[in-house]
Symmetry: C2
């Protein structure tokens, strides 16, 4: 594995060289020389930033992009999404995931936390693209299909693939998984040290129904079942839009991760008020996601970050909330932390997950503040170069497999929609 | 002026040819042949849409992009924006406007309604870029500088420039212009048939102060002063975020235009609840704007449209609100209507203001629904070709003056920030 030497790139508004060796950032400074045999990347007119961690998505659903919009939730699911999901197979999931990974790389994401079906096909696609993926194995009901034997077989299947692909235990939600199933998943999460990735309180009606059925709210249920304790350090609650004061305290007490998906919550009409400040102050690890492309319609983490920050400022009538530096952490290091990866900062010793953005992109003209321009003015197309775990995944916006992925994803979509 | 013939482009999901002659769309259909001497544009792997009308901006403020963020409103104005605005001159406004026009063209906008200073410099920049501009002459206090003689001198100055550049009367707001000034501006608007472009009810405190000072809310004040009647057909109220039931009725009664600027309202912490449905149902002409780049940070109308629609769905918990077809009208034809331009639809006889988007951009892969992909998945970078009033302003994302504009805008910014 050759070292990478980035020459004269802008870091925090100052030029520097950056050396990447053995998958890590090994040197930062204008005096860091190019080692013999290194790959040289010109950093002129570019700025370096950490890459994003997309903490909640359903990657293969990229094939559903634009398929059904502006519909009531149950119409959308019953009449549009579910009938077509019956056509899913290894081939469609493989190409859908390849398309999603391509889109993520092109917009600066090098890690994602997924939840879908046909795990081996998704793992193959992600590992080929060189991106970090944590593939949640969806469980429903009593989750009886999630046996230790099954999990060990999946782990064995991943072994020869990229070290960057791992799995998570993903009970779908408290309204689709039984108490027994929720606990079963938590035990497996603890036994194998795997992330417990679950949809939590995305809509208000889920919470109302939980109270009816279980006599308490969703996070209260998980605490009562011992799930929060068993999964401490491995819990990731997607959405968590409708949480009350007591639930915020529970989330904070277990230092749990919650993932806000602002574009999805808005577009599906789920709601707009995410308790960012309260969750952060209680001790939650707040991260950011796009959700799948059938909910909102792209995987651009810059857009998701911008909308998250703008929404917090707007609903609280306070422009100082979730300022750019903090927003960058939410979209990068907070997510990597949940995934157990020491990335999300441009600093010596960190994993080499970084991107170069093009300062001649109009979003950076003029460049009064590079970070503000990245998060508030740019979109994913400003990303020029992406490095993940010390490997170059994209340079000058070129990914060698892109044309094949586009052609095959179109073909797979035609099969899915037949 | 040569005809333009676009071959085999996707329109409403079907391939067609489009002929542009004498600034208008002259033919649509696969049987429309290429006239001798026409400019031929290949439409393969492209879809055609109307271009956007950005109905509220301060174009030259592009030089402030990223300059001050995440600050309380009055700190932002007093300590950051206003001290630097004192450095504005013809040169900075000229290059700031050129930069803004370049950014607008690159993201599919061919008309904008502006409000700023140094009108002749802005007019020169906009006319050179070939974009439609309506330049609001800002007025404050009693607006006594706005004499008939002055307006006629500006109109005479515009005469030799592009036919696409015009002016508007732009009293700044009810809290910075006196009752006398507001009326004076309305009379001039009526006399010269010019748009009356004013900031209205952007923040709640403006409304509270208006009630204190005038005994009524801002739109009630304008009605009482006779402004709404005098400007009927020419009124454009930017923001209009804080309007009550009676004001919505007033706006509807005069068929007035209101411009929502969702990104700006959110980022500045002004608020999030725009009364779209109520205004539309009352008869208002609702249009869309980005505001200037110092408020939110880019001029991308696709992003503004997406956020407007997502926000309406989210705050009303109804995903069916402001569906894609209606959203496109808000961002295109509704704005053109206010500007007196018969554009915003791809139809024979309409002004030739249209764009081609690149269907190989990942936002359109797969292409289950081209319009949904444009508004919900894409960003401005998907725009490949832009035609305004029958002239090609951009092809394959190339604008010949772009490199010079970037270099000079950087130089002008350095002077502004000195």
């Amino acid at each position: 594995m050759k070292p990478i030497w980035i020459e004269g790139v802008s870091l925090n508004e100052n030029p520097t060289n950056i050396l990447i060796e053995n998958k890590h950032i090994a040197g930062i400074g204008l005096d860091v020389p190019m080692p013999a045999g290194a790959i040289r990347i010109a950093g002129k007119d570019k700025a370096v930033f950490p890459t994003f961690a997309n903490m909640h998505t359903h990657a293969a659903m990229n094939l559903f992009r634009g398929y059904a919009n502006d519909l009531p939730l149950m119409t959308w699911l019953n009449d549009w999404i579910w009938p077509k999901e019956k056509n899913l197979d290894d081939d469609t999931v493989y190409w859908g995931t390849r398309l999603a990974c391509t889109e993520m790389i092109k917009s600066g994401t090098t890690a994602y936390s997924d939840m879908y079906f046909h795990i081996p096909a998704a793992a193959k696609a992600a590992s080929e693209l060189g991106i970090r993926s944590t593939l949640g194995i969806n469980a429903f009901g009593d989750a009886e299909e999630l046996t230790e034997k099954y999990i060990e077989s999946i782990l064995a299947m991943l072994e020869p693939l990229s070290e960057l692909v791992s799995i998570a235990i993903a009970p779908h939600a408290v309204y689709t998984v039984s108490e027994k199933g929720l606990r079963r998943c938590a035990k497996l999460s603890r036994k194998y040290g795997l992330l417990y990735h679950i949809h939590m309180s995305e809509t208000e009606s889920e919470v109302v129904n939980c109270v009816k059925e279980h006599g308490c709210r969703p996070y209260e249920l998980l605490e009562r079942l011992g799930v929060m304790e068993m999964t401490e350090g491995h819990f990731s609650g997607a959405h968590s839009l409708y949480v009350d004061e007591n639930e915020i305290a529970i989330i904070g007490r277990y230092r749990a991760t919650v993932t806000h998906n602002p574009c999805s919550n808005l577009k599906l009409g789920s709601g707009h008020y995410f308790h960012y400040v309260e969750l952060r102050d209680a001790g939650a690890n707040v991260t950011l996601g796009t959700d799948g492309c059938s909910s909102s319609n792209n995987l651009d983490m810059i857009e998701a970050a911008k909308i998250m920050s703008y929404l917090q400022k707007g609903i609280r009538r306070d422009p100082t909330v979730l300022a750019a530096e903090e927003l960058l952490d939410v979209a990068t290091s907070n997510g990597f932390k949940t995934l157990g990866i020491d990335a999300g900062k441009i600093a010596v010793g960190k994993s080499a997950d970084l991107m170069l953005v093009d300062l001649n992109n109009l979003a950076f003209v003029p460049n009064n503040n590079t970070l503000a321009n990245l998060l508030y003015a740019a979109h994913g197309d400003a990303v020029d170069t992406v490095v993940c775990n010390g490997h170059i995944l994209m340079q000058q916006r070129h990914i060698s497999s892109e044309a094949e992925t586009i052609a095959e994803a179109r073909r797979a979509t035609a099969r899915l929609m037949r």
